[in-house]
Subunit: 360 residues, 2 copies
């Protein structure tokens, strides 16, 4: 059958559909478990979770499913930031804070790798079946550590050379993130602009250059996209936006609504929310901050600085100041249960395959 391949075999899942490990409360244990229970690979986005939250969420997922699932981690970045950079960024953010009535100052600590190390330990202890990474390639030591625990390792790449770097460090499979993808860019070699490669071009070129299985991401929202990606040579797809609007998703209602009402030109690339380029629906925050983009503190500093703005904006129902991550195919988004998202994809692919069999 079309869904039987090395990825489904190695991950021990039925369908080659990975739910992206989106951070920021979107990937509730309910969503992760629903995807896994429906034959895909649910993934917990632990990027912004504390170690306690990480362990708790993993345990919750385990209560809800006995199927394989993944945890997605951010490879830590520990940039320096000057007082002057911080001061300027705070000045630019002040108008939003004022409008939202935020008075407390945001404290910025020097980012460290401590959380990442704790999360890695938890993943080993909890025997999480799959661990995926983004924002950089996991080190050979990290990969080796996970392999001693029989944990499958998935990397993320936005160019062929990044995919090769992942393969060289020993990951089992690699997600290639096309320019259509919503949320943060995974680029870690060279400039992100150069690494904005469309899925249609990125998948076949990567497949031809690496020996590990490739998982296609970016612009895939339904059975047409899934089968197209498989034909391009991918052995699975990773879908984010399609699950953000699902019933089990923990995304804010305004976020879901924005995606369901968006067209393909509205999700733009911005660094304004986090200091790292990401695709989200254009709004007042992105527009107003655009002129400062190149001078903002690096990720994760800027992310910390905008945290209360984003959460207060959600509470006060001001989507114009929220980060509305979304890929370039929002017209295909639907508000369905995760299991229905997957069963719709499977029957659509089944239909297309049947059609091909009939016509030749």
């Amino acid at each position: 059958m079309w869904y039987e391949n090395k990825v489904t075999q190695d991950l021990n899942i039925k369908y080659p559909i990975v739910q992206a490990g989106m951070a920021g409360g979107i990937t509730t244990p309910e969503l992760v478990a629903a995807v896994s229970n429906s034959g895909g690979l649910g993934s917990l986005g632990a990027g912004y979770m504390s170690s306690e939250q990480t362990r708790e969420s993993i345990r919750k997922v385990k209560q809800l499913t006995d199927k394989p699932f993944g945890v997605n981690l951010f490879i830590p970045e520990t940039p320096d930031v000057s007082e002057d950079e911080l001061k300027k960024a705070n000045e630019w953010l002040q108008p939003f804070r004022e409008k939202l009535g935020i008075s407390e100052k945001t404290e910025v600590k020097k980012p460290t790798a401590t959380l990442f190390e704790q999360q890695m330990e938890i993943i080993m202890e909890e025997r999480v079946p799959v661990c995926s990474f983004t924002f950089d390639v996991p080190s050979k030591e990290t990969v080796q550590q996970l392999k001693t625990g029989n944990i499958m390792v998935i990397g993320t790449a936005t160019t062929v050379k990044e995919a090769i770097a992942n393969e060289e460090n020993g990951v089992d499979m690699v997600v290639v993130q096309g320019s259509e993808a919503g949320g943060h860019r995974g680029t870690f070699m060279g400039s992100f602009e150069e690494a904005m490669i469309g899925t249609m071009a990125l998948v076949p070129q990567t497949v031809d250059q690496v020996n590990i299985p490739v998982i296609a991401a970016g612009g895939i929202m339904d059975g047409r996209g899934v089968l197209a990606a498989l034909i391009l040579g991918a052995q699975a797809v990773q879908m984010g936006t399609a699950f953000v609007t699902s019933i089990e998703s923990g995304a804010k209602e305004q976020h879901k609504e924005a995606i369901l009402n968006s067209t393909e030109e509205q999700p733009v690339i911005t660094s304004a929310f986090s200091g790292k380029p990401a695709r989200g629906i254009q709004n007042d925050f992105i527009t107003k901050m655009a002129k400062h983009e190149t001078e903002l503190p690096k990720y994760p500093i800027q992310n910390t600085l905008t945290k209360t703005i984003r959460s207060e904006a959600a509470k006060q129902n001001r989507p114009e100041w929220m980060s509305l991550w979304c890929g370039q195919n929002p017209r295909s988004s639907k508000h369905l249960s995760a299991s229905k998202v997957i069963s719709d994809i499977v029957s659509q692919v089944d239909d297309i395959v049947k059609h091909i069999e009939t016509r030749g």
Copy 2:
């Protein structure tokens, strides 16, 4: 069979493969005829041709094939340019002219629609089977005129709303140009940045919103891309870069070499050569002109200003100052005859289809 659909039927071709009507000497009558003789739709890129060249080339194609072929026209743009803009642009171009020993001044005439009207007459008189357009939607009158001559009309769009605008004006089918595509962007509504939608996302969203057949373009270089595009809902593909490096292509040797040796990150978007955003392989000209991008005279003025630079650079073998148009999938490029490009695609699709039939 997989290649039988409304597009192949209406265009009276065997395979749903359109060779892009690239301007600038790439689409020799030999290339156009070779593609048509191999079962695809060859297209003459008449955008920069004089009316004499247009008629001559059409007649030459007719001598070489009795199969359907197309002519691609640029909908004329007639921007104003100030003396100051011209002066500045000439100053920025002067270093390149000096290095190439170009002493004569480039004369810039106010662009008019006269050539376009003459080309339309020639297409009617010569009974060209297919006429395609880019840079804007053809007017209802233009479409009507062609239909009285039983000429099939193909439009170009980079967003869903542009595809709808084409449908509303009566075109028979529409090429949707994904962000991966090489050469000039066809965007005519809104900013080109917003209209950089990956093929994987653009095709299904357009197919769901228009009733006319969609032809997918951008990043498609082989049978995998062709079948993937058909599965996304397109009824044909348009391929440019894959034919630039073909034996019959009139592209300069340095252009072919550059594509054959390029990787996916090298083709970038630049307005430096023509005043209109286009994707070409990064080189010294693009890098040096980058800081002036927003102040350049509009297309086609800037195109006129850089014309001798581009042609002298080719003569003097300085590819660093040539426009090396290329899409985001150059790793898949090959130096083959156009007929071999097509027969390789067809057998690759046949193989994949057979594989699907066997596996289900």
